[in-house]
């Protein structure tokens, strides 16, 4: 069912000398997307930063009270909150676990898939496509149900094995709750890594692999020293995408921990900002969290791209 077509290979860049009217045509072609992105991405970023400098509550949002410029007061308040630092720590730890998990599982299975015949491979890909296509909210509910305190299969099986898991709550304790959410996130995000990495591995020329096997290289060694280095640009894309996705998980945390857990102990930055802004009506403070989150994400991915970039022509 899942077949790999020969992907277009980009050896020679298809650039040609400038032609008359290129600039005007480009402007025409780029205008629709450009206008949209300027209005819905660039302008909101500017607004986010702006709001974060104001005392912006419900009266201000409704236009019933004058705006008071606070400077960095929202940030100062945020950084002095013990809760902010806890949430930040949990966000980073949670995202890192999800990224590592999806990359290890996805890449490992891609290597495995490239070594088996088509029937088991097809089964694996079908299962992965199924997990991939499950909407975040549906996936959250299924995992919640599997791990339900009273009616969950997991508790039933574990206590059946004699382990002390009868009526165990998987959503109460911080480690349990984050572990459960991370498992769901990895489950629905490793397929992207699998498909991407598998496509890359299939792109490694057969001659290279044959040469390696003639030289007596073991499968393990071939994978580590030949295949993985050759698919590094792909690995980087998978990593960057995973970082971007896992840092801003909202639905899973919100649904599975019922809005961030009892007394907000299972929050991540995203849900925290949402709660501050839309439940607490502290838009200024919520925006400050948004700015921190954006900076964090930009620097993590930026740093990663930078360290990897020297080996690859990125653009």
């Amino acid at each position: 069912m899942v077949t790999v077509q020969e992907a277009p290979s980009v050896t020679a860049p298809a650039r040609r000398p400038r032609r008359k009217g290129d600039g005007r045509a480009a402007a025409l072609y780029l205008a629709p997307a450009g206008v949209l992105l300027a209005a819905l991405l660039a302008y909101p970023i500017y607004q986010l930063v702006l709001i974060s400098f104001y005392d912006y509550g419900q009266p201000q949002a409704a236009g019933n009270a004058p705006l008071v410029f606070l400077g960095f007061a929202n940030y100062a308040e945020l950084l002095s909150q013990a809760q902010f630092w806890t949430v930040l720590g949990k966000t980073v730890g949670f995202a890192a676990a999800c990224v590592a998990g999806s990359l290890i599982v996805g890449t490992g299975l891609a290597v495995l898939a490239s070594r088996v015949r088509s029937l088991p491979r097809t089964l694996l890909f079908l299962a992965a496509l199924g997990a991939w296509s499950t909407p975040a909210i549906a996936g959250s509910y299924v995992w919640l149900f599997l791990f339900d305190t009273d009616f969950g299969l997991v508790n039933e099986v574990l206590s059946g094995l004699g382990l002390p898991f009868e009526h165990h709550s998987w959503t109460f304790g911080t480690l349990d709750a984050f572990g459960l959410v991370a498992a769901e996130v990895i489950w629905c995000s490793f397929p992207f890594v699998l498909v991407t990495m598998y496509a890359g591995i299939k792109g490694v020329p057969d001659e290279v692999l044959e040469a390696a096997s003639l030289d007596g290289a073991s499968a393990w060694r071939t994978t580590w020293t030949i295949v993985l280095p050759m698919v590094r640009p792909l690995l980087m894309i998978a990593t960057v995408q995973s970082i971007i996705w896992d840092f801003k998980v909202f639905t899973q945390i919100y649904v599975m921990t019922n809005g961030g857990g009892v007394a907000g102990r299972n929050l991540v930055l995203n849900v925290y900002a949402y709660q501050q802004a839309f439940a607490g009506q502290e838009y200024g403070l919520g925006s400050a969290i948004g700015v921190v989150m954006t900076l964090l994400l930009l620097s993590v991915t930026g740093l990663y791209v930078r360290t990897q970039r020297r080996s690859e022509a990125w653009l």
């Binding site: 780029l30 296509s133 009616f151 489950w187 498909v195 909202f250 900002a273 925006s287 954006t294 994400l297």
Partner: protein
């Protein structure tokens, strides 16, 4: 890699077992959706049922106006797919095939835009949609148009960047030949380039569809008071109450929500792997 190796059988058994584990939550979802009422909320859940019933489905379909939310979700997702394909294709063509000043800057901006967490922009986007609603009501708060706009903003940077590789892979000679035959730039773009980058378009449409279909945060934030414009993720919440959840209905609605994405995936999966590979090589 057709080289016969010892241990391949073990690898194959492992693969099948892992496939089973990965698919299990989906099996459980479907099973729980068709279990008869007494068997779902049981302290002793069985991994099979001998008397499948559609009780849960009929509860979902009759009680909650599920159809309406389903249509809303589908409408938003399909419009987002169509518009992202159109806009990202045009941009990708401009960024790869035309040379003009500022091209590199725009490419870098596309890359950076992908890293912007759209979720962090919920607050300004909420105010923006309120403003837009004052001018063009169909795109304001409580309207599906606002969801279309925000999902487009999310999917475009990635889509443009993904399609670049495909557009770049089409040989320049083809364009020159077309020009010699008198084809205009517009005609070349749509009649020759567009069909040639089909795998990329498929990958783009999958990602855009999934994103729009899955969205919970923006639907929750933007569609505040007009319940008839809510989308599926919010509709499911109705059955979920921490103390008294109707798990049968939750699993049935989750199943119904997963089906369109699965159908979409099955329709395009042959092109998907090559789409990913092409995007990545570009």
């Amino acid at each position: 890699m057709a080289v016969k190796r010892p241990g391949r059988l073990i690898a194959e058994v492992v693969t099948v077992v892992i496939a089973g584990i990965v698919a299990f939550p989906l099996y459980w979802m479907l099973l729980s959706a068709v279990k008869p009422p007494g068997e779902i909320q049981s302290a002793n859940p069985k991994p099979w049922t001998f008397s499948p019933s559609f009780d849960s489905f009929s509860r979902v379909l009759t009680v909650s106006g599920f159809g309406r939310y389903f249509v809303n979700s589908l409408l938003v997702a399909l419009v987002v797919v169509a518009l992202s394909l159109l806009l990202s294709f045009l941009s990708a063509v401009a960024l790869t095939r035309f040379s003009f000043k500022g091209r590199t800057v725009l490419l870098v901006m596309t890359l950076v835009a992908q890293m912007v967490p759209v979720e962090a922009l919920t607050i300004p986007l909420f105010f923006l949609m309120r403003q837009i609603g004052g001018v063009v009501p169909a795109f304001g708060l409580n309207e599906l148009g606002s969801l279309v706009l925000v999902h487009l903003a999310f999917s475009l940077p990635f889509a443009i960047w993904m399609l670049r590789g495909f557009v770049a892979a089409v040989p320049v000679e083809l364009e020159d030949a077309a020009a010699l035959d008198g084809a205009s730039r517009m005609r070349f773009t749509w009649q020759i380039l567009f069909p040639l980058v089909a795998p990329g378009l498929v990958a783009v449409s999958v990602l855009a569809f999934i994103h729009a279909w899955n969205d919970f945060l923006f639907a929750k934030t933007f569609i505040v008071s007009k319940t008839e414009n809510q989308t599926l993720p919010q509709a499911i919440l109705v059955f979920f109450k921490p103390e008294d959840t109707d798990w049968g209905a939750v699993m049935a609605s989750s199943t119904l929500m997963t089906i369109p994405v699965l159908v979409f995936f099955v329709l395009v999966q042959r092109r998907l792997v090559s789409g990913m590979a092409g995007a990545v090589k570009g």
